[in-house]
């Protein structure tokens, strides 16, 4: 398969790009922030996502979805990134849907139609510390009666305070660092003993801290195998890591476009500052970094969709490279904008803040480079 979009994928892009640019440009995010929105996204926009078929795009056709893959999800996510659109798309339509693919028929029947219809939002409750370490799960799920009792905390849970469904990684066996003994649970909103507090992050997004104080769930809340949740967790994480890489790429591309435009428009010493070679070379370097990041992300998506075992490494490369490239682009973007780039009035700073959050989400570049090194035997 050639490493570029198929005609169908190009058509999806032709739909998604104007949709996001018109319905949810950066001004949309700014307006939500200025209104001190506490939901974290605009429910009316989420309903439009459902109408467009985006919410159910990864759901299998047998379960009422479009049966599309990581490449298609990436197309939507790149536009989300380009417009800095606050959206539960990544956690819900990519993360929860991927997790639920490993779930029971009942779980799929209960959640997938509601997700596809835009009626349910989901959140991924995985991280517990300040850095992404998915094997370090200390939140316990102890057997009790016909089900389990969940006790512990989760952090950095986007949409966790409003989600109808929480995908929770819990420890049912093994030591606190071990991949074995982790189990995934589907936990409903409003479960007794569950409290969620949303904090605003640097990029104005909302991130929940969840407390599980002896939250009771039935045995049928287990997604996939008891104690064997690592595989499903890894699948889910690879999907959202790749998705986050696409969103990062969108953030980087948006910042790059604004920066290039500024270099063309802004005049000093009587000429456009983009005529200075010192800036031209830096801009050309940013372009190059984004291009190779784009290739790495598409490669990971295609391999994921093909079920190729090489996808695992490609995902590490994609998330790490997208993080490196976009981090550089947004930093240089602010610098090249000069003083105006430091103002809240100008959008370029938003790109830098969003990039920082996405770079951290589901493992930063260092984390994935380290995994790549381990996988390569050094």
């Amino acid at each position: 398969m050639p490493l570029f979009h198929t005609d169908d994928q190009a058509m999806l892009l032709d739909t998604a790009r104007p949709f996001l640019a018109e319905q949810a440009p950066v001004a949309h995010m700014r307006a939500l922030r200025d209104a001190d929105d506490r939901t974290g996204f605009d429910p009316a926009l989420w309903a439009r996502f459902a109408e467009m078929g985006f919410c159910g795009m990864l759901i299998d056709e047998a379960d009422g979805g479009l049966g599309l893959g990581a490449v298609e999800a990436g197309i939507v996510l790149e536009e989300i990134g380009r417009n800095l659109t606050p959206s539960p798309f990544l956690a819900t339509a990519v993360g929860a849907v991927t997790a639920l693919k490993g779930g029971s028929r009942d779980q799929r029947a209960r959640w997938l139609p509601r997700i596809a219809a835009g009626e349910a939002v989901a959140a991924l409750a995985i991280d517990e510390g300040g850095k992404h370490r998915p094997n370090r799960i200390a939140l316990t799920a102890a057997r009790s009666g016909n089900g389990f009792t969940l006790r512990g905390t989760k952090r950095f849970v986007a949409h966790g305070h409003v989600a109808d469904l929480l995908i929770v990684a819990a420890r049912t066996a093994g030591g606190s660092d071990e991949p074995d003994g982790i189990t995934l649970f589907a936990v409903d909103k409003g479960a007794a003993g569950l409290t969620a507090a949303a904090d605003r992050l640097a990029d104005a997004s909302l991130s929940a801290q969840l407390r599980f104080d002896d939250v009771q769930v039935d045995a049928d809340a287990v997604i996939g195998e008891l104690d064997g949740g690592w595989a499903g967790l890894t699948r889910t994480l690879d999907a959202v890591r790749t998705g986050a890489a696409s969103e990062l790429l969108g953030v980087g591309t948006g910042a790059m476009a604004r920066t290039t435009d500024y270099l063309q428009q802004r005049k000093q010493f009587g000429v456009a500052i983009g005529s200075f070679q010192a800036l031209q070379h830096r801009a050309a370097h940013l372009y190059s970094e984004l291009e190779i990041a784009r290739a790495a992300v598409l490669k990971a998506q295609q391999l994921l969709d093909a079920g190729d075992p090489a996808a695992e490494r490609a995902v590490m490369v994609a998330k790490a490279m997208a993080g490196l490239a976009t981090t550089l682009v947004v930093q240089e973007g602010v610098q090249m904008h000069g003083g105006i780039g430091m103002t809240d009035d100008y959008d370029i700073g938003f790109f830098m803040k969003r990039a920082r959050v996405l770079a951290e989400l589901f493992g930063d570049s260092d984390f994935h480079a380290d995994r790549l090194a381990r996988a390569s035997g050094y």
């Binding site: 050639p2 456009a272 031209q280 070379h281 190779i292 290739a295 490609a314 790490a320 390569s376």
Partner: protein, 394 residues
């Protein structure tokens, strides 16, 4: 199975049956590289056998038309062949500026007679070409070149000097930029093909920091070249030159992919330095540097695949080879810096047998030219800024 799957399966079987075992081992030094030519040197009978077998199928140039000695493969088939060769670790049977640089220009600008004359010999490795571009006073500002070609009946008389001519002392023919009009810069350049055995051609190898002399000074003293050897129109050679440079940049960018087949940087470092009980390199800072490098190298491999796919589908930006060249060469330089760091004092050996005559150290030094030859990194960045980013006055 699709036709492509069939092709892939047949190709795999053929390669397994026909690529000699020695040709599936990583290249250790320049001696392992086969350049062909009128007086070819082969480091082993297997090297010759591998070239002959591949040339017979047209697979030294899989995507060229069969009429010109190519394999006539579709883009998808060429890609499958490349992937299968990489999977088995097959060496490239033939390194050739005729294949990577002149061939594409001949296919686009050559007359039928020129194509028939030159392409099959390139494909079979019978004629080795060199490139006469740079001059002592025309480096990054290539279009200021002064080597002249004056009309004389059915011939041109060529006078002047080229420099950095790779392997000019070993090449059979040269493709050469000459000035046919002194009154205009780019519009006064023509593209000539001629035999290096012509009277009046002489070469002088230049000793480089690597201790090797891959580059030469090349002198032309009243060299007589038939007008029929003009590629493209007279005074329109700059178009040919730029087209060819795009292909040259692609070729050089491929260095960013690494040699392939050999041990990875991390493995080389573990071998040389040792590992912690959990397998991690016993040098955490170098390990981190290698890991971050490998992220970018892997991303660049994906980019190379994407670039080739887009190129075949005619959907790549014409200036994209500049990006490929820039990133690929900078990566290759970084790779060799890391190899030297991983190897420590062992990597410094210059003459010993176990280092294959200092192959590693010499290769490290050789890579420093990657970001200079074929247009410096700075020239590539200028091109990206001007032609892709549309920045003003670039």
């Amino acid at each position: 199975m699709s036709e492509l799957d069939d092709f892939r399966a047949e190709t795999r079987a053929w390669l397994e049956g026909n690529c000699p075992a020695e040709m599936r081992t990583p290249i250790r030094s320049d001696d392992d590289v086969c350049w062909g030519g009128r007086n070819p040197t082969f480091s082993s009978p297997e090297q010759k056998l591998w070239l002959d077998r591949m040339a017979e199928r047209g697979w030294t140039v899989p995507d060229w038309p069969r009429d010109y000695g190519g394999g006539g493969l579709s883009p998808a088939e060429s890609k499958a062949l490349r992937e299968e060769m990489a999977r088995l670790g097959c060496r490239s049977p033939l390194y050739s500026f005729g294949i990577s640089m002149l061939g594409p220009a001949l296919l686009k600008y050559g007359t039928e007679a020129q194509k028939q004359d030159h392409l099959p010999k390139i494909a079979r490795g019978q004629i080795r070409w060199c490139q006469g571009y740079s001059e002592p006073n025309a480096g990054s500002d290539l279009a200021s070149l002064a080597t002249s070609a004056e009309e004389d009946g059915d011939d041109f008389i060529v006078n002047g000097q080229k420099v950095w001519t790779s392997y000019a002392d070993k090449a059979d023919w040269i493709f050469c930029l000459v000035r046919t009009d002194k009154t205009v810069k780019q519009g006064g350049i023509s593209f000539l093909l001629f035999d290096m055995a012509s009277p009046g051609v002489s070469t002088r190898p230049i000793l480089l920091i690597s201790g090797y002399s891959p580059f030469c000074e090349t002198f032309f003293d009243d060299v007589r070249v038939p007008k029929a050897n003009l590629l493209g129109e007279r005074d329109k050679g700059w178009d040919v030159a730029k087209y060819l440079l795009g292909h040259e940049r692609e070729m050089i960018s491929a260095m960013g992919l690494g040699t392939g087949g050999g041990p990875s940087l991390g493995k080389i470092a573990v071998e040389a330095i040792g590992a912690e009980p959990d397998g991690r390199l016993d040098d955490p800072v170098l390990r981190a540097r290698i890991a971050l490098f490998e992220v970018r190298a892997a991303a660049f491999r994906a980019m190379s695949e994407r670039f080739l796919d887009e190129l075949k589908a005619k959907r790549t930006h014409p200036a994209q080879p500049s990006m490929m060249k820039y990133v690929g060469t900078e990566l290759n330089k970084q790779r060799h810096e890391l190899m030297m760091a991983a190897g420590g004092s062992d990597a410094l050996e210059w003459e010993s047998d176990r280092s294959h005559g200092g192959a590693g150290a010499r290769a490290w030094l050789r890579t420093k030219a990657n970001s200079i030859e074929g247009g410096t990194s700075e020239v590539q960045l200028n091109i990206i800024a001007k032609r892709i980013l549309a920045l003003p006055g670039a």
